[in-house]
């Protein structure tokens, strides 16, 4: 019996092994040592690790700034009712950035002290599925007919549905949109930002004002936007249908579709129309807000904040498509953001309570508050319907764009987005390639191919470990 337990534990730790290969940067060496030390001593040291009965549901999250306030309020409201109804209250714990958060979760699982619930970024999905340390949301919902799953948007659920099973609750979901400086649009004789890459390139000289030092476009050099451009062309990032029908072992993004976005940026950059501020998300926003760039491409989650703080009218448009795509036109964008995971290792009774909280977060009133206060879009049809009926989107057309874009996403592997256990590393390679392609002499092809080869190696390494 004891042996069995030991074996199980060993297996669990082994299943987290792929994790160790994933992280780039300063954390690279930690999971490695973690796994070796865990493997040797797991049974002895942590096998008996009993977790004390919880006085509260622990919920680890990575929301900071204005959004953490909204989340705090939601939890406070839940807790107010909780004491009256004899339910466990929820204790929020901020775990740093998304990367810090998943690292901390990994440590906690190894030490057998997981929280009940954890909020993890979308690119951590495959890792968590493979870890064996989570309870699929579908299993928690089983038998509860009033969870409202039928009200949830299929376009949202499909991202977190792995091999036919819904694993986590999509919570803060977003997609990229294009923000335009209304004054610059007006000066160029336009009312909305261009909706194709080609149109954008054509309009750029009119939108930019190089004498005043205003560039046309600014965006963070993040792989997320590159992935979106692939999806828009109906192309895939990795094989096995973007990792949706099996564990992918090959990156396939260096084709013509991949080069398209790189070349687009390079041409604008060479013409002095693109403000390259590197990979961070903040500088492009500041560039745009200061009126130094006419257009900004970033997440829809900024839609309300930017509208309120800008000193000029902000007009939001859809993420551009490629013109003349003919029959393969895909109007989908891939979901971004994060979802909420239920962790194994806590008492069943507590997990039932945790489920109640998940249900609360998924409920229509909460989804509505979350949407109108943050800019992340709601995951429910009834919320969108009600807001529409009340004229919310007529009053806030900018908020409507991301929702429309989401609803237009087809049920295709490209629009679903890729799953990969080594996603953070893939992003690193793509972003390196982006920088190389913008700065280097040898163009987009070679840099993309190098990145693709490195990504494929990482994918294969991960697959071997499973």
């Amino acid at each position: 019996m004891k042996m069995k337990k030991k074996m199980k534990k060993k297996k669990k730790i082994k299943r987290w092994m792929p994790f160790s290969l994933i992280l780039a940067g300063a954390m690279t060496m930690i999971p490695m040592s973690a796994c070796t030390s865990g493997k040797n001593s797991a049974g002895r040291v942590f096998g008996s690790g009993k977790i004390k009965k919880a006085k509260a549901i622990e919920f680890w999250h990575s929301m900071s700034g204005d959004k953490s306030q909204v989340l705090n309020d939601l939890v406070d409201d839940y807790n107010k009712d909780a004491t009256a109804t004899g339910r466990l209250p929820v204790k929020l714990q901020f775990t740093g950035t998304y990367t810090d958060g998943i690292n901390k979760l990994r440590l906690a699982v190894m030490a057998n002290r997981p929280p009940h619930l954890a909020q993890i970024y979308e690119i951590g999905t495959q890792q968590l599925v493979d870890s064996g340390a989570v309870i699929p949301l579908e299993e928690l919902i089983a038998g509860d007919s009033d969870f409202g799953l039928e009200q949830m948007l299929p376009q949202v659920l499909q991202y977190y549905t792995v091999r036919g099973k819904l694993y986590s609750l999509p919570f803060a979901t977003s997609n990229p949109v294009i923000y335009a400086n209304g004054n610059a649009l007006e000066a160029a004789g336009m009312t909305t930002p261009p909706d194709t890459f080609e149109g954008l390139e054509e309009a750029c000289p009119k939108l930019a004002d190089l004498i005043k030092g205003r560039t046309c476009l600014t965006l963070p050099l993040t792989s997320w936007l590159f992935e979106q451009s692939l999806a828009r062309q109906g192309a895939l990032l990795v094989d096995k249908e973007n990792g949706r029908i099996g564990v992918s072992g090959e990156a396939i993004y260096a084709g013509a579709e991949g080069r398209f976005f790189f070349d687009f940026l390079r041409r604008l950059s060479d013409a002095g129309m693109f403000a390259n501020t590197g990979r961070s998300w903040d500088p492009p926003v500041e560039n745009f807000m200061a009126g130094r760039s006419a257009l900004l491409v970033t997440s829809t989650s900024d839609v309300f904040v930017l509208g309120q703080r800008a000193k000029f009218p902000v007009v939001v448009g859809r993420f551009p498509v490629r013109a003349n795509l003919g029959s393969v036109i895909s109007s989908g964008t891939i979901l971004g953001g994060n979802s909420i995971w239920a962790m194994k290792g806590r008492a069943d009774g507590e997990m039932k309570q945790a489920y109640q909280f998940v249900k609360y977060l998924a409920s229509a009133p909460v989804q509505r508050r979350w949407h109108v206060n943050t800019g992340y879009f709601p995951i429910r049809k009834d919320v969108i319907g009600a807001l529409e009926a009340e004229g919310f989107y007529t009053a806030n057309p900018n908020a409507r764009v991301a929702v429309d874009q989401l609803l237009a996403a087809p049920d295709s592997a490209a629009a679903k987005g890729a799953l990969a256990g080594v996603f953070p590393e893939l992003r690193e390679h793509v972003e390196n390639a982006m920088e190389e392609a913008l700065a280097g002499k040898d163009g987009s092809g070679p840099s993309l191919e190098r990145a693709q080869a490195k990504s494929s190696r990482a994918l294969q390494r991960y697959r071997k470990l499973l």
Partner: protein, 283 residues
């Protein structure tokens, strides 16, 4: 005209030195100045380009927002407890270890010293996993002790003081022992006072690096009431979205105060310590 040792007139060599030093001083001082400036700016002005050096309508709302958004004073208290605790313990262990290595002949001394030097090259991030598991096992997670305990010894401190102690004339110790002092008495009544500059310099260094820790406090604390300053700042800074810079800068301005105060208070010893420990290195 008076001439300096290098042949230049004293006045002009001073002027030259001042001018040269002014460049790094401005480079280092400007971010702090700008942080203060932004902390008084309204949200829209924080985004203005070209940025204004001084806020056109100074406001205090950023400070009240920051103080309302998170228990900054509690963060500061936690950081102080952790940093002072780490500093005190590290100073003590470093003094004892450095003395033993510098002055007591024992078997394997060179090897121990070699380990200490090797430890200098181990980034503390590597030890996070074993440390974390140890804290879980001992039930110390989410306590002040967990913030302090893993940093009870410092290879840098031992090495720095070892260098310094080695430079102190042996005759001093021989004289003390002839006068009947025990080793401990000599160490704490003679060697430590003589080595004050190096010890204080190390203390300030230990304090600042403990104060600036981010990853460990993030991992090992759970409740908001146990969070330290650096983790607290992380709560203000948004990832992947627009940040309210005024509020972040207000919070940061409040949170850097203790470090700056400590440095001002110990500036003299700090500089002297760094200079003299360098001079104490034997060729």
């Amino acid at each position: 005209m008076r001439k300096g040792t290098n042949g230049l007139p004293v006045f002009s060599s001073r002027l030259l030195a001042t001018c040269l030093l002014l460049v790094p001083a401005v480079l280092h001082g400007f971010p702090i100045f700008y942080m203060l400036s932004v902390s008084f700016k309204e949200a829209a002005e924080a985004y203005k380009f070209p940025p204004s050096l001084l806020p056109s309508h100074p406001v205090l709302t950023n400070y009240s927002d920051a103080l309302n958004a998170a228990p900054l004073w509690q963060f500061m208290l936690n950081s102080l407890i952790a940093a002072l605790g780490i500093t005190a313990i590290q100073m003590l262990t470093s003094i004892l270890a450095a003395y033993a290595l510098a002055r007591i002949e024992f078997k394997g001394r060179k090897i121990v010293l070699g380990f200490v030097v090797a430890m200098l090259m181990v980034p503390s991030e590597i030890t996070i996993v074993p440390n974390y598991l140890m804290m879980v096992r001992t039930g110390l997670i989410d306590t002040h002790l967990a913030l302090i305990a893993p940093f009870s010894a410092s290879a840098f401190g031992i090495f720095l003081l070892y260098q310094f102690f080695s430079g102190v004339p042996r005759e001093l110790e021989e004289a003390a022992i002839v006068d009947g002092a025990s080793r401990m008495r000599f160490l704490f009544q003679i060697l430590v006072p003589v080595s004050m500059p190096a010890i204080v310099a190390f203390g300030v260094f230990a304090f600042v690096s403990a104060w600036n820790q981010y990853l460990w406090p993030l991992v090992v604390t759970q409740s908001t009431a146990m969070r330290t300053v650096q983790v607290g700042v992380g709560m203000f800074r948004s990832e992947q979205e627009a940040t309210s810079w005024g509020m972040v800068m207000a919070a940061t301005s409040i949170l850097v105060l203790p470090s700056i105060a400590l440095f001002i208070a110990t500036q003299k010893q700090f500089v002297r310590g760094l200079v003299s420990s360098g001079a104490g290195v034997k060729g």
